[in-house]
């Protein structure tokens, strides 16, 4: 993983965690306006970063695979579209860290 990819993943980890925390807090404080605003801010950051990741480095979910010429995960041999979801490394192998 190159430095730019690592930096982007780090931002996804941070905003994703901020959302995880906000979600649990809001479950038991559904009317907390400050928490709702925090959730909204983090939500916007998170999805912007995830979208950028999908376009530049590959999918984070199987329902968001980008299929277009030059998209990440194109077949090394034929240079055409390929199913990039299966590409290594998987998270437990140290991928996306």
């Amino acid at each position: 993983m190159n430095a730019e990819h690592a930096k982007l993943m780090n931002q996804i980890y941070q905003t994703g965690f901020a959302l995880d925390e906000a979600i649990l807090f809001l479950d038991t404080h559904p009317c907390d306006q400050e928490a709702l605003q925090y959730y909204e801010t983090m939500q916007e950051c998170y999805w912007k970063l995830v979208k950028e990741h999908e376009l530049r480095f590959g999918p984070l979910t199987a329902k968001s695979v980008v299929l277009s010429d030059g998209a990440p995960g194109s077949c090394d041999q034929c240079r055409r579209n390929a199913w990039s979801w299966v590409n290594d490394p998987w998270p437990w192998e140290g991928g996306m860290c």
Binding site: L24, F25, D27, T28, L60, T61, A62, P91, W92, C97
Partner: protein, 207 residues
């Protein structure tokens, strides 16, 4: 339904194998206070929660526990990579290895398999949420015990993250229990089970 995110909840990057430590940490996969039991406990209990906040809480924490299970499995996987037969014997990993090679199988550190009897789904919100608070503390103690044995900072880092989550979940379940009690009769929280009894208890009591 669920959607898989192709990343861990918190990064796990361990460069040095340590099969001895893997045998201890695997208990948080399939052991009595492990992440698999936690996830199954909360995701099973949520069907009998009569209040929307606690149904949401059990769904979201139960989901996060699946992500914790994945982190624990990633730690064990990375601690058991590239082992030689000599290292396997010397570390005492041979007893696990003979049945599972270096595959992941849910067991406790003592070797006994994952068992649904380590958790309850009682169909009573006060009972279930009280169990959930205890479960988070038991898992926190297990992580404290693991942290005393670890020297490698690359293992400590994700384990500390997981320990912190137990503390946060305990807090949220405490709030969930409070929400349940706020719906009930403060003079007797146990007058009826809101997940089961349909009777108008106040009318019955005033007879």
């Amino acid at each position: 339904m669920w959607t898989y995110d192709k990343r861990l909840q918190y990064p796990v990057k361990i460069s040095q194998p340590n099969p001895q430590m893997a045998q201890v940490i695997i208990t948080q996969f399939g052991g009595p206070d492990g992440e698999l039991a936690a996830s199954m406990r909360y995701l099973s209990q949520r069907y009998s929660m009569p209040y929307k906040e606690t149904s949401a809480l059990l769904t979201d924490i139960g989901t996060e526990e699946l992500a914790h299970m994945e982190m624990i499995c990633a730690i064990v996987h990375q601690l058991t990579r590239n082992l030689t037969p000599e290292e396997i014997v010397a570390s005492g990993f041979d007893k696990y290895y003979v049945d599972h090679t270096t595959g992941l199988w849910p067991q406790a550190a003592g070797g006994f398999p994952f068992n649904a009897c380590v958790f309850q789904s009682k169909g009573d919100p006060i009972t279930d949420l009280t169990e959930d608070m205890a479960a988070e503390q038991k898992a926190r103690t297990t992580y404290d015990n693991i942290l005393r044995l670890i020297k490698d900072p690359e293992i400590c880092d994700p384990i500390r993250f997981l320990r912190q989550r137990e503390v946060v979940h305990f807090q949220r379940f405490g709030e969930g229990l409070r929400i349940v009690q706020d719906h009930l009769d403060s003079k007797n929280f146990y007058a009826f089970n809101p997940a089961f009894d349909k009777v108008n208890v106040q009318k019955n009591c005033s007879k």
